[in-house]
Point group: none
Chain length 222, copies 2
Amino acid sequence: MKILLVEDDERTAAFIIKGLRQAGYIVEHASDGETGLALAECEQYAAAVVDIMLPRRDGLSMVEQLRRHKVLTPVIFLSAKSAVDDRIKGLQSGGDDYLPKPFAFSELLARIQALMRRAAAIAEPTSLTVADLTMDLIRRKVWRAGQEIELQAKEFALLEYLMRNNGRVVSKIMIIEHVWDYSFDPQTNIVEARICRLRDKVDRGSERKLIHTLRGIGYKIE
Amino acid sequence: MKILLVEDDERTAAFIIKGLRQAGYIVEHASDGETGLALAECEQYAAAVVDIMLPRRDGLSMVEQLRRHKVLTPVIFLSAKSAVDDRIKGLQSGGDDYLPKPFAFSELLARIQALMRRAAAIAEPTSLTVADLTMDLIRRKVWRAGQEIELQAKEFALLEYLMRNNGRVVSKIMIIEHVWDYSFDPQTNIVEARICRLRDKVDRGSERKLIHTLRGIGYKIE
DNA sequence: TCCGTAGATTATTATTTGGTCATGTTTGCC
DNA sequence: GGCAAACATGACCAAATAATAATCTACGGA
């Protein structure tokens, strides 16, 4: 289970990281809002602990941005300010909880766990994420960097299959079997053709390409 | 919207009741844990604010009992003790949030509202709304942009089903099962035909179309 | 009984999809 | 460097799917 920590104060960060690691979590740490945002959008975290006062981009704006991009990772804010207004702002900007500094680590842990429990109850295993590409299986919608992409049924099925195999290479035969439900080689270039269209919609105009070809082997998304 | 307050201190109770009423909520008040438990089990509340130190039965045990009985009303604990251990106990015994006394009323309100937002996803509504389309399930009326729309029974049932699945795609098979209660494919295009009429009434003359077709998949409202 | 309405069915038309093919491009191997 | 295989790309088109209109049926009330 991976938790993202966005905190600029090194001592606080070290303290939290140590505690969370001991509790069995994998912790990734960002020291400023921009880095935190980038990480949160690329990776899938079970929860995020976000300081409000941060260099480059404050925590509130970071979470607002995340929510705009349909990243629903549960967030708990930390802040030295315990002023009521700040707490309220935190809850309103899309955070799920708020903890004023100084806090006891055990309370932070309890709150994180409560959040994750709650999120697990709601979170449909129905959304897939790879880097800044998100797929909502129920609404049948796909976003790249927060921007909605229109996909046809077959394209959707193909992308879903690739995303379910996030990082793994899938051969054309496997694609044919899963997406087309053929048990034979159709002797045509359906897959290539469909991959091409998918690329056009998913990767075009994006610096970072997600769909990769492995000659003679297959395709993978990453 | 009804909120349950379980608090033995009269002054605190009066203060909270007044504030919540001003915010437009109906508040019911119990002064001890047993009464609170009884109320929470009989009535349906949008949220509960529960003091931990209570006569007859303490707040923690009250909520544990509630949860055992599958009452999932969101609970926010209040307590004079701000000791970390107590907070953790609160979260672990099935509470959704914890607020130490003294607190600012506006923070309590924000937290209650955040909790209710989260819980709203599960709750059973009496009216459904999607964009500027509203359906009153009790009076069986539908409005688009404030303008009433006359629907036939089947059309109403169909629209209700779509709206209950707001944003989610429903296949024609699912529609047939829910709206017509057939467990087989009627081999006709009833659904398409009814959708067409529904569109005529709901989306005609409106810039923003709400009923969407997903070829080969189904329909959704959004 | 007759009419009106709700709702189902059928027929027709319109639209979209997704597979195929032809061609262009890249890659890796000898 | 030349070559063949693998892959990318774009245009095309037939089949699948859906929208719409028209027609039919069943039922309840005047």
